[in-house]
Amino acid sequence: MSQARTNLFSTIKLAGEVILGKERQIRLSLACLLARGHLLIEDLPGVGKTTLAHTLAQLLGLRFSRIQFTSDLLPADIIGSSIYDREKGSFHFLPGPIFSQVLLADEINRATPKTQSALLEAMEERQVSAEGETHRLPTPFFVIATQNPSYQIGTFALPESQMDRFLMRIDLGYPDRDAERQLLTGGNPRERMSTLPIALGTNELQALQSEIGEVHAAPPLIDYVQALVEQTRHDRAFVHGLSPRAALALLAAGRAWAFMEGRTMALPEDIQAVFPGVAGHRLRLAQGNGHATAENLANLIERTPLP
C-alpha cells in the first residue's frame, strides 16, 4: 500500500477522534474531496458541521479560510476588490477569502442569491474575474458549505442549478448516545482540533486524486449507474430525474468510495453508498417543497435490480 493511501486511512482515523461516531460522514466527505467535488453539509446548528469542515482542512494541511454568510454579505466580500494604490497611481486587486485551498462557507443559505451565485460561479470555474481581470484560484480548491434546513427563518434556498454544483450533500444528524457522552466528558473538540497534525500532504492528496481516476469502472457498472439514473427519471415522485452531470458525479464519487474501501474496481455497492449523498439534493420532490428523503433514495435503489 502506498504511503499516500496509508495516510488517507490515518486521516479518517484522526478525524474520527474529533468528530465522534460519524465515520460514515467523514468517509463520504473525504470521498467527495478525493473526487474533486465540493461538499454541502446540511443540518441543524450545533451538530458539528463547522467542526467537520475545519478538521478536514486541518488534516489535509490546506490553506483554510472561513466566511460566515449573512444577509448583508456582498460578492466583493468573498472574491475581493480592487483598491486604488496612490503610490503607483493604479488599481490593484486585493484577493478575498476565496483565495484559499479550503473555503468554509458557513450557513450559505443566509446570504442573498446574488452573493451565493458569486461563490457558486467561482466553484464551477475555479477562477474569479474582477474588473476585467481573471484570477485563478489555488489548487486544490474545495468549498465546504454548510446550510441550515431551509425551513428556518431568514434563509434563501439555493436554486436547483446551484445545488448541482455540489458533488455531495451530507447531513450529520444527532450523535448517538455513546458518542455524545464521550463528547460531554472528553472536553471541547475544538481544542483537540487545534492539536491535529497534518495527515495528508497536498502532493499526496493530488496523487490520490489521480489514482482514483484509475479505479476500474466495468461496463456492467456503467450499466448500473445508467439504470439508477434512469430510474430517477421515470419516478413521478420527483420534478426531474438526475442530469448527465449528476450521473458523472455519481460515478466519480463511487470510484472514490471504492478506492477508500481499498478496491481497484468500483462495485454497485460503492455506487449505492454514495448515491444518497450525490442524488439527495438534486432530486426535488414533486409534492411539497423539499428534496428526496432517505426513504425515497433507498426505495430508488431497491427498485433498480443489478443489470
Partner: protein, 654 residues
C-alpha cells in the same frame, strides 16, 4: 429447517389496490342487485377503507360470521333461492365485499383477486356489449396490477399499471388463437340460464288500434340485414311477420289453423339472397322479406307464408335466406284459409258494410274493389298520424266517417274489413317496412319504429296480392320511411329522426362498430368459424383437427416464449450464470439475494446472519466481483463454481 407457510403478512400499502379491485368488479352489478345489498356492499368496502386509513384492527370473526349469515339469508329471501344466476351473483358480490374484512395475509389477498376475476366473468351473463368488454378489460388490468403490487413491492401506480397492461398484452395473441380456433358449439357464446329471458318488445301477435303506433315510438333495433347484391328499393322491403285473419270487431289475430298445406310460391323475377341478424324477441318469426323462397335449415314456411324458426329466438341469431320480390303465391289456396279470409263478425259497422256492398255490386273484379277503397283513402280527407283519436264501438265506421285520422293499423284494418264485406278474401300482415342503410358498413338496419301493417287480398287466378293502404294516404312512408311520412311536430324516437346530421353520422359509425362486434365476436358460431377458417385456407377442418391445430399453435407460442427466456438467460455472461447459480443455492438455504443487492454486500449480510455460509459466500462474491466488475481472470469463475458446490443442496418442496 422450518418451512415458512403462506404466513407472509399483507403489505399495508397493497390494501387500497385490493379495495379498488373489489369496487371495480362489484360496482357494475349494482344495476340489477337489490338496493339493500348494493348499500351493504359499498358500506362494507367503505368501512374497510376507513379501518385501513385509521389503522384499526379488523372486526372479529364472530361479527363477520354473523354478517355473512344475515346477508345470505337476506339474499335467499329476496330471490327465494340461493341458486341460479341472480342469486348466485348476489352471493359472489357479497363475498367480494366481505373477504377484504378478513384480509391479513398475502394468501387472503390472492383469494380476493381470484374472486374478482371470477366475478368479472359473471358480468357477461348480463351484458356482452362493447362498453362491458372495455370495462372488464380495464378491471382485469387492475386485478393483474394488484397481483403485481402484492408480489412486486412498492412502485409508482403508473408503472404497476403499465406492467400489468404489458402482461395482458402479451397474453393477447394466445387469447386470439383460442378465440378463433376453439371448437364452437351452436348457440350463443354464453349459455344463459333460463331466468335470463325477460319480456322483449317486438311485433305484437294481435292487432288493435294503437298496437303498432306504440311500437313505433320504440327506437330499438329489430334486425340487421346484409344483402349479397344491391339492396332492393325501399318500397319493396316488406318484412313479413305474423298474418292476422280473425277479426272480432276490434282485434285482429291469427286464427288457429288445422294442418294446412303450404302455399306454392312461384318466382316471377330473380331471387335476392341476404343474411338477417335478428335481435332476440322470444318469438319464432324470422321476418323474411316478402315472399320467402329459401329458408335456413332450422326453419319452415307456415301456411300463411310466414318464415318460422323451430324455437323462439332468444339470442341474437343469424339466418341466411332467399326471397323473391316479384311472386305469385297461393293460387290454389285451401278452402279453409279462404274461408277465414272472408269471415266477419255477424254485425256492427253497418255503414262500412253498406259501402262495401255498393262496390261489390258496381264491380265484379276484386282489383277494382280494392282500387275503390284506396281511392276513398286518397281522395277523402284522411290523415296519417301517430296520435289518432280513440275509437269506440263500431271502430271501422267511426274511423271511416268520423275521425279519419289513423296509423297503418287503422288503414289496414279498415281496408281488410271493407274487402271482406265486399266478398273479397283479405287479411292483415304485420311486419316491418323499409329500413335504413348504414353507409359505414352497408348493413340495412330495421328498427321497431319501422313496424308496419299492410293487407293482402286474394284474387282468383292470381293468388295473394299485397295492398298497402298506407301507401295510398302517405306514399312517403313506403318510399322513404316513417320520419318523412308523419306530419311535422309529431314526436318520434331520436333514433328514427333524420335531422341532426352529425349525430346521425356518429350513430351510423357506432352502430357499424356494434354490428361488427355482434357479427364477429358474439356471433362467432360454428358457421362463422368455418367461414373464417376457409378464408385462411383451412376449409375442411372438423373439431378434432381444430383442437389439434389449437394445441400445436399454443404449443409453438409457448415454446417460442420459453426459447426466448432461455436465450435471454444464455446472454448472461458465464460469470453471471455461475453467480446466479450460487445465489439460487443460497436462496434455497433461506438467504435470498435482493435483486438490487451487490455481491459483496450480499455476502456480508449472509456472514452476519448465517455465519456458517459467510466465508463461502464471501469467496464466491469476491471472485464474481473481480470477474464482472474488475479486470479479474475469467478462471475466477471456477472459484464461484467451487464455492457453490460447497453449499448444501437440499431440495425443498413447498
Amino acid at each position: 429447517m422450518k418451512t415458512r407457510k403462506h404466513a407472509e403478512p399483507l403489505e399495508r400499502a397493497a390494501v387500497p389496490w385490493l379495495l379498488t379491485c373489489a369496487l371495480a368488479t362489484a360496482a357494475p352489478h349494482a344495476s340489477h342487485l337489490p338496493v339493500w345489498l348494493s348499500c351493504l356492499v359499498s358500506g362494507v368496502i367503505a368501512s374497510r377503507f376507513w379501518l385501513w386509513n385509521v389503522n384499526k384492527p379488523l372486526p372479529s370473526r364472530w361479527l363477520l360470521t354473523l354478517l355473512v349469515i344475515a346477508a345470505t339469508a337476506g339474499i335467499a329471501l329476496q330471490y327465494r333461492t340461493i341458486l341460479g344466476r341472480d342469486a348466485g351473483v348476489a352471493l359472489l358480490v357479497l363475498f367480494m365485499a366481505l373477504k377484504p374484512m378478513e384480509m391479513r395475509w398475502r394468501r387472503d389477498a390472492i383469494v380476493v383477486v381470484m374472486l374478482g376475476f371470477f366475478l368479472l366473468l359473471t358480468h357477461y351473463l348480463y351484458s356482452q356489449s362493447i362498453p362491458t368488454g372495455l370495462w372488464l378489460m380495464t378491471a382485469a388490468t387492475l386485478q393483474t396490477a394488484t397481483l403485481v403490487r402484492i408480489y412486486g413491492g412498492s412502485q409508482p401506480p403508473a408503472i404497476i399499471m403499465r406492467k400489468a397492461a404489458t402482461m395482458l398484452a402479451q397474453a393477447a395473441p394466445l387469447m386470439l388463437v383460442l378465440f378463433v380456433l376453439f371448437p364452437r358449439v351452436s348457440g350463443p357464446l354464453w349459455g344463459l340460464p333460463q331466468d335470463a329471458h325477460s319480456s322483449r318488445s317486438g311485433l305484437p301477435d294481435s292487432i288493435e288500434p294503437g298496437s303498432i303506433s306504440d311500437l313505433v315510438l320504440n327506437g330499438s333495433l329489430a334486425f340487421r340485414v346484409r344483402f349479397e347484391e344491391t339492396p332492393p328499393s325501399n318500397s319493396n322491403l316488406y318484412w313479413r311477420g305474423p298474418v292476422m285473419d280473425e277479426f272480432d270487431g276490434r282485434t285482429w289475430r291469427p286464427a288457429r289453423l288445422e294442418r294446412e298445406p303450404v302455399p306454392k310460391i312461384d318466382a316471377l323475377g330473380k331471387s335476392t339472397r341476404y343474411e338477417l341478424t335478428l335481435e332476440p324477441q322470444n318469438q319464432r318469426w324470422l321476418l323474411a322479406l316478402d315472399a320467402p323462397a329459401a329458408l335456413p335449415p332450422d326453419a319452415h314456411l307456415s301456411p300463411r307464408m310466414q318464415a318460422l324458426s323451430r324455437h323462439p329466438i332468444r339470442a341474437r341469431s343469424r339466418f341466411t335466406m332467399q326471397s323473391v320480390l316479384d311472386y305469385r303465391a297461393g293460387i290454389e289456396e285451401s278452402a279453409s284459409i279462404l274461408k277465414l279470409a272472408r269471415q266477419l263478425p255477424a254485425e256492427g259497422n253497418a255503414r262500412a258494410r253498406a259501402l262495401a256492398k255498393s262496390w261489390q255490386e258496381k264491380h265484379h273484379n276484386p282489383a277494382a274493389i280494392a282500387a275503390e277503397a284506396l281511392q276513398l283513402f286518397r281522395e277523402e280527407n284522411f290523415i296519417y298520424t301517430l296520435q289518432p283519436p280513440l275509437l269506440q264501438e263500431n271502430s271501422i265506421d267511426q274511423f271511416l266517417y268520423e275521425t279519419r285520422r289513423g296509423f297503418c293499423e287503422h288503414y289496414a284494418s279498415a281496408f281488410v274489413f271493407l274487402m271482406r264485406a265486399a266478398g273479397v278474401p283479405a287479411r292483415i300482415v304485420a311486419g316491418y317496412q323499409g329500413g335504413e342503410i348504414n353507409p359505414v358498413d352497408g348493413y340495412l338496419t330495421v328498427r321497431q319504429s319501422d313496424a308496419h301493417a299492410w293487407a293482402e287480398i286474394w284474387v282468383a287466378g292470381r293468388g295473394w296480392q299485397r295492398v298497402d293502404p298506407t301507401a295510398a294516404i302517405a306514399p312517403a312512408r313506403v318510399e322513404s320511411g316513417i320520419a318523412d311520412a308523419l306530419p311535422a311536430g309529431e314526436s318520434l324516437p331520436v333514433m328514427a329522426r333524420v335531422d341532426l346530421g352529425w349525430l346521425r353520422q356518429m350513430r351510423f359509425r357506432w352502430e357499424a362498430i356494434n354490428n361488427s362486434w355482434n357479427q364477429w365476436v358474439l356471433g362467432y358460431n360454428p358457421e362463422r368459424q368455418r367461414e373464417m377458417l376457409s378464408r385462411i385456407g383451412l376449409g375442411e377442418i372438423d373439431w378434432r383437427g381444430m383442437t389439434a391445430l389449437l394445441s400445436v399453435i399454443c404449443g409453438v407460442l409457448l415454446a417460442a416464449i420459453t426459447m426466448w427466456t432461455l436465450w435471454s438467460r444464455s446472454r448472461l455472461d458465464p460469470a453471471q450464470r455461475a453467480w446466479f447459480r450460487c445465489c439460487a443455492r443460497l436462496k434455497k438455504l433461506g438467504m435470498p439475494r435482493h435483486p438490487w443487492e451487490g455481491p459483496l454486500a450480499y455476502a456480508e449480510r449472509i456472514a452476519k446472519s448465517h455465519a456458517g455460509y459467510g466465508e463461502i459466500a464471501l469467496q464466491a462474491a469476491s471472485a464474481y466481483a473481480n470477474v464482472r466488475y474488475g479486470k479479474g481472470n475469467p478462471l475466477d469463475i471456477r472459484i464461484i463454481a467451487a464455492a457453490t458446490k460447497r453449499l448444501p443442496n437440499n431440495w425443498r418442496f413447498t
